[in-house]
Amino acid sequence: MSIAIQVWDLPLRLFHWLLALAVLSAVITGEIGGALIDWHGRIGVLILGLLVFRLIWGFVGSAHARFTNFFPTPAKINAYLKGQWKGHGHNPLGALSVIALLGVLATLVGAGLFANDDIAFQGPLFSLVSKSVSDKLSSLHAFGFNVLAALLVLHIAAIVFYARVKKHNLVRPMLTGKKHVPKDQAIEVSNIGVHRLVLALAIAGVVAWGVSSGVQYLTPAKAAPSAVQSW
């Protein structure tokens, strides 16, 4: 007898698919460059907002969204590898992947904010560091992309592996939020008040806005165009 339980809350699912879409768009615009590099920068700020939201949601979201719920300790990983893990959210190996992906994305976004392309693009926080530091962070941004690509391949390969070999569909729960589990393992997941969602979104929005636009108020000299001389 199996029963459907709520495993991923709606904000978490929206976060996941928006992030997937944003990362794909960032890759495409970053690879093409030219006029699209400005969109690459804007999408980067969106990803920053999404990551801040996810960080907060990891503390105030519903049970399976919380870091304390899925943080992969060696004991948990060991139990999972022996087939003794009994949870419903991210399994301990999946949790490693989640943390690695979020960490690499945070590094890419963080470095990208200070980056420049030596053409006509500078990240929104470029003026806060020296050119040589910006160059270093630009290199880190470029290198980090390879790590992200490798993790994404692993992410998708794992989903295919679970679907084909373990006959376990991981995509549907990320769409519907529901997962079928044996009745005796069912747990009640309480809903999260909307005020927490509003608060998390507000903080994420303020951080993203502050980084993309607010920083100009920290460096007023840069914002004012220099006077044009007649010579």
Partner: protein, 158 residues
């Protein structure tokens, strides 16, 4: 005796290398300067056409586009002599060594840059902000294609 001869040869070759290195360093310095100057002019166009079109000043944008075209048409290829991938101008060159093995591809990206820079000069003269913006994007793509192919990604790799 043999040792002294060997020592003399080592010193002589080191000297030659130092002198040859100076010419290469100079080429790198000139080309870094040329691209920096082009980048300054690109930033002016970006500012007045893309970021703050309300500040668009036709004469300034034309002057900037003319400057970029002048850099592109100045014969920059002469500054890519053999060994300049190892030389230091204002800072160490980030030119990839394989630049010297891929002649056809180099000509392709270099010609593309020249073509789009000349086109930008023409479009700037019309004063059509939308058209300048589009052409400026095309120019940026040619910068990027050369960076992707022939510039070491790691700013500190050398």
């Amino acid at each position: 005796m043999k040792f002294k001869l060997a020592l003399a040869l080592v010193i002589a070759s080191a000297n030659t290398a130092a002198i040859a290195g100076q010419a290469e360093d100079q080429q790198v310095k000139f080309r870094q300067s040329a691209y920096s100057f082009a980048a300054w002019n690109c930033s002016k166009i970006k500012n007045q056409v893309v970021e703050h079109p309300e500040t668009f000043n036709k004469d300034q944008v034309i002057a900037a586009a003319n400057s970029i075209a002048a850099v592109a048409n100045s014969g920059l290829g002469a500054l890519y002599g053999p060994g300049t991938d190892q030389a230091t101008g204002w800072k160490k060159s980030r030119l990839k060594p394989e630049f010297f093995d891929k002649h056809d591809e180099v000509v392709k990206v270099a010609t593309a840059f020249n073509k789009e820079a000349n086109e930008l000069q023409k479009v700037a003269a019309t004063g059509d902000i939308g058209a300048i913006k589009t052409q400026f994007g095309k120019l940026g793509e040619t910068c990027k294609s050369c960076h992707d192919s022939f510039r070491v990604k790691d700013a500190d790799a050398k």
